[in-house]
């Protein structure tokens, strides 16, 4: 394969942009820091049993502490799912466990949030926990125009 300067240049520019974009924002994604999560839902100490049995409100209150405590980090995805329960949210793929912590009801005008467990490069252990805004984004924020058909 022959490389030429424009291909390398534009490739590098695009790569840099995308790596930055995917690293920080993933796709169409907004995340909440643990600090802001504390302000929003409180900061109750994470307890596996209470989390598993709890509703969205109880889980939301533990979300910040779950991130800060890092108790799930490094555990296998399977074990994390055993501890946190069956995922009820959705983030990009069924491979990524997600747990709802705030869900807007029909007719409500507020955002929905979920805790997502991001795996490391091996895809098997939890590397990071994030609080993701699952709803709602404006049309512009989807990053993809309506497909014209």
């Amino acid at each position: 394969m022959k490389w030429n300067i424009p291909v390398i240049f534009f490739g590098t520019v695009i790569l840099s942009g995308v790596l930055f974009a995917t690293d920080n924002r993933y796709i169409r994604s907004e995340f909440l820091s643990s600090k802001r999560a504390s302000e929003k839902w409180g900061n109750v100490s994470f307890d596996v049993k209470k989390w598993k049995a709890g509703d969205e409100k109880i889980r939301a209150a533990m979300a910040a502490n779950l991130i800060e405590g890092k108790k799930i980090i490094g555990k296998s995805i399977a074990l994390a799912q055993d501890e946190l329960g069956h995922p009820d949210g959705y983030f990009f793929s069924e491979l990524i466990p997600a747990y709802r912590i705030e869900n807007r009801k029909a007719g409500e005008r507020k955002d929905s949030w979920q805790v997502v467990l991001i795996a490391g490069k091996n895809g098997k252990t939890v590397e990071e926990i994030k609080i993701h805004k699952s709803c709602c984004y404006s049309e512009e924020e989807y990053g993809l125009k309506q497909k014209e058909r």
Partner: protein, 227 residues
């Protein structure tokens, strides 16, 4: 606005990465790819082959230096694929298919975005095991069928369902709704009206008529509307 740009960038780079994969991919031992990747040798560099053939090997990868010629050319695609696509949400079967059919994979990826956007439009949110999940799978499957045909749609969709730890009931739900989407697309194609709008209407109708599999119904199926 920033997210919109990042989405466009993302698609462009994936396309770039997939083209690289298409142009460079050849079969090498995966263990050797790992060994090569760990060695830190830069594929495509002038001294790649020299460094590769003289790199230290263990008993498990003793045969790898014999593949240096290919590794120096082909380690980039897998590396690029892992960096450029979103590997955390892809199954191994997904990755293999992307390597094999990169241009088709781009269509599959784009269709996923379109389906998720449609879910957000009608249900507000993408959840799991409810009507939004069923709608997402149906719509995604139908859109892929529209773009690539039923056979390839099944190939990609089945690969994406190879999720370890996923409950059998969930897998069955996803596969059943994928299948319904493929069949609906075939029917719509036969009638000459295979469009995104008709796919969405068909999905909502199927949901209302309880023809889609839903494990945890929320009980709301909206009417079709453009926005």
């Amino acid at each position: 606005m920033a997210a919109r740009s990042s989405g466009k960038y993302y698609l462009l780079v994936i396309f770039f990465g997939l083209i690289l994969t298409l142009q460079l991919a050849t079969a090498t031992d995966p263990e050797c790819e790992k060994w090569f990747s760990k060695s830190g040798i830069r594929p495509g560099s002038i001294d790649c082959i020299v460094k590769c053939t003289s790199a230290s090997v263990g008993m498990d990868v003793f045969h790898c230096p014999s593949q240096c010629n290919d590794l120096c050319k082909t380690a980039l695609p897998r590396y690029a694929l892992d960096q450029l696509t979103y590997p955390k949400g892809l199954t191994e079967a997904d990755k293999n298919l992307i390597s094999k059919f990169p241009k088709d994979a781009l269509k599959v990826f784009e269709s996923k975005f379109v389906a998720e956007r449609a879910v957000a439009r009608f249900f507000g949110d993408n959840w799991r095991n409810d009507e939004s999940d069923a709608f997402r799978h149906f719509t995604w499957a139908a859109l892929i069928t529209e773009a690539l045909g039923a056979e390839k749609a099944r190939l990609f969709l089945n690969a994406h369902e190879q999720v370890p730890n996923q409950a059998t009931s969930e897998k069955e739900m996803d596969q059943s709704n994928n299948d319904s989407g493929i069949k609906a697309a075939e029917i719509l194609r036969g009638e000459g009206k295979l469009t995104q709008e008709e796919i969405e209407k068909s999905a909502l109708k199927a949901l209302r008529e309880k023809r889609l599999k839903v494990l945890s119904p929320r009980g709301n199926t909206p009417e079709w509307s453009k926005y």
